[in-house]
């Protein structure tokens, strides 16, 4: 896991993940409608939108948990839409869940090592990676604590650590800051920047708009399963359609 310097310069240059006319319907309900999106290597890409706009469904489509109805998903020039979740993880996409799902009756260490075994060639290599990741996410002192006995912020960091241990090229985070205090949000933001600097591309769903705006290089906005806007945080902030979509929606802005 190296990075910094060269990655900053190359930011925004290569298409890592490409969604083309991606659609998903459940019976009569269309959850995702013809979404076109391209995420570049090395950037932090934010995905926002009101509740129920299809963001998590999009994650599930990319990670292989759901089968798409139409369209294509290309990761590093390879079509991945027909692959199983574990095959997609092997190719370098990791994701966290909206509600943290640590393995409850198993220690934090064991949680992370399972992720580490994704790429590590042996259990001992995986052990080394696990220690590195635990230290990065400030969980080293909790390594023997069972998943169910961790606090909410610790569980979120554990989810992150576990996914990070799989050595992904693209890390998809589903509301990693939900339920955190403003200071914790700040810390998480710092952590995510460090991860980006290591060369990992980040796709993040988040409702805490202020955090997303400061963190992301680019943002896409979903509403009713469709992409209604895309651009830099400044452009999005000024976009009338985005404001309308959020009108009547309660959204969280972290207190400064």
């Amino acid at each position: 896991m190296e990075g910094v310097g060269a990655q900053k310069k190359a930011r925004g240059s290569m298409g890592l993940l490409k969604l083309s006319k991606l659609s998903k319907s459940f019976g009569g309900l269309q959850a995702v409608k013809e979404v076109n999106l391209e995420i570049n290597q090395g950037e932090i890409f934010g995905l926002i939108g009101p509740n129920g706009s299809g963001k998590t469904t999009l994650f599930n489509l990319i990670s292989g948990a759901l089968r798409l109805t139409e369209g294509s998903i290309r990761f590093r020039e390879e079509e991945i839409s027909k692959l199983k979740p574990h095959e997609i993880c092997k190719r370098g996409i990791a994701r966290t869940f909206q509600i943290a799902r640590p393995f409850a009756d198993v220690s934090a260490y064991e949680n992370v090592i399972i992720g580490a075994l994704n790429q590590a060639s042996s259990v001992s290599t995986a052990a080394r990676i696990t220690d590195e990741v635990l230290s990065l996410t400030h969980l080293l002192n909790k390594k023997n604590v069972n998943g169910k006995n961790l606090t909410i912020p610790e569980r979120r960091r554990l989810e992150l650590a576990r996914s990070l241990a799989t050595q992904p090229k693209l890390l998809m985070l589903d509301e990693p800051m939900a339920g955190l205090t403003p200071t914790e949000v700040e810390e998480m933001g710092e952590l995510l920047r460090r991860i980006r600097d290591m060369g990992i591309t980040i796709l993040i769903i988040e409702h805490i708009l202020q955090a997303v705006m400061t963190l992301s290089d680019r943002i896409a906005v979903l509403n009713y399963g469709q992409k209604i806007a895309e651009g830099t945080p400044e452009e999005i902030g000024r976009d009338q359609k985005v404001v309308e979509a959020y009108l009547g929606e309660e959204y969280v802005i972290a207190d400064s």
Binding site: A65, H86, E87, K90, F103, V106, S107, I114, K142, N149
Partner: protein, 337 residues
Amino acid sequence: MFFSTPSLKRAIFILFVMALFSAPLFVKSDYHLTVLIGALYGAYICVCWNLAAGYAGLFSLGHQAFLGLGAYTSTILFIKYEITPWVGMFVGGIIAAVFGSFITFVCYRYRVKGMFFAVATLAFGFLLQALFMTWDYVNASTGIWLTLQNKPQNFFFMARAPYYWVICGLLVISLLITYCLERSRLGYYMVAIREDEDVAESLGVNSSKSKVIVMALSAFLTALGGTFYAQFYLYISPACVLSMDPLITMQVGTLVGGSGTLFGPVIGWAFFSLLGEYLRGLPFGGTAVGVISRIIWGLSLLLVILFLPTGMIGLGRKLVGLLPWIRKKASIRETGS
């Protein structure tokens, strides 16, 4: 946890193995050795079942099929083709592994999981029993007798002790395999799959492949036990190696002792078979002895399940956790402070 320090666990294990192997030096009576062999055989098949059911979550209600496949394969190969059961044993194991992998793979392919998987394996077991009961090539329901000869190279021993050492060896090997599995990549994957299969998949765990491998291993080992049964008890039939009775043994020992643990099946079966032996020896009148002892046996089963859902190992852990200095160590594990 006190018992989880590697060196202590290893020491206990070595002592256990030494005690086990040295038993024939102290126990001379044929009757007692036979009882011990029976108990160890039961423990062995429990450990095998535990690999699939306890570790991989494959609640197989047809595992006796693998026992039967092993017993019949080696016996038929010996009687009809004069191939020594030492080799026939492994052929049986491979056949069982193939069947086991196939069933597991097909079930997961068609999303037959949990209870439905249990029913599918139940069906497989009964199917095999029904087929063997009418297949004349294997002597149908009459069964096959083996004649005891003084030919160790054909897996026959005149004395009980060598049989005892063979089953000891099998038991120790199966425990070692379980131990290594726990610590391996596959072992970690099993934990992940048991905890939350969807999350495991998202972390790169190929749950189908992992389950198939563990089932194949479990089936292979169980089949070896089948050959041992044939060579020791010298009679096999669909009613003894393909019926629910061995399966009930496997389940009782594993679930009572604690599934998904290393020593659980052994302790569970040791407890229950010894209980059975003790009850058999009690002075109840006449022919009712066997029946009453079985009633008490069934009642104890109920009591254990009702009051000890985590099995005896779970109880043991709780009890050990009550000792004051262990408690302190445990609370560190709980809160991390």
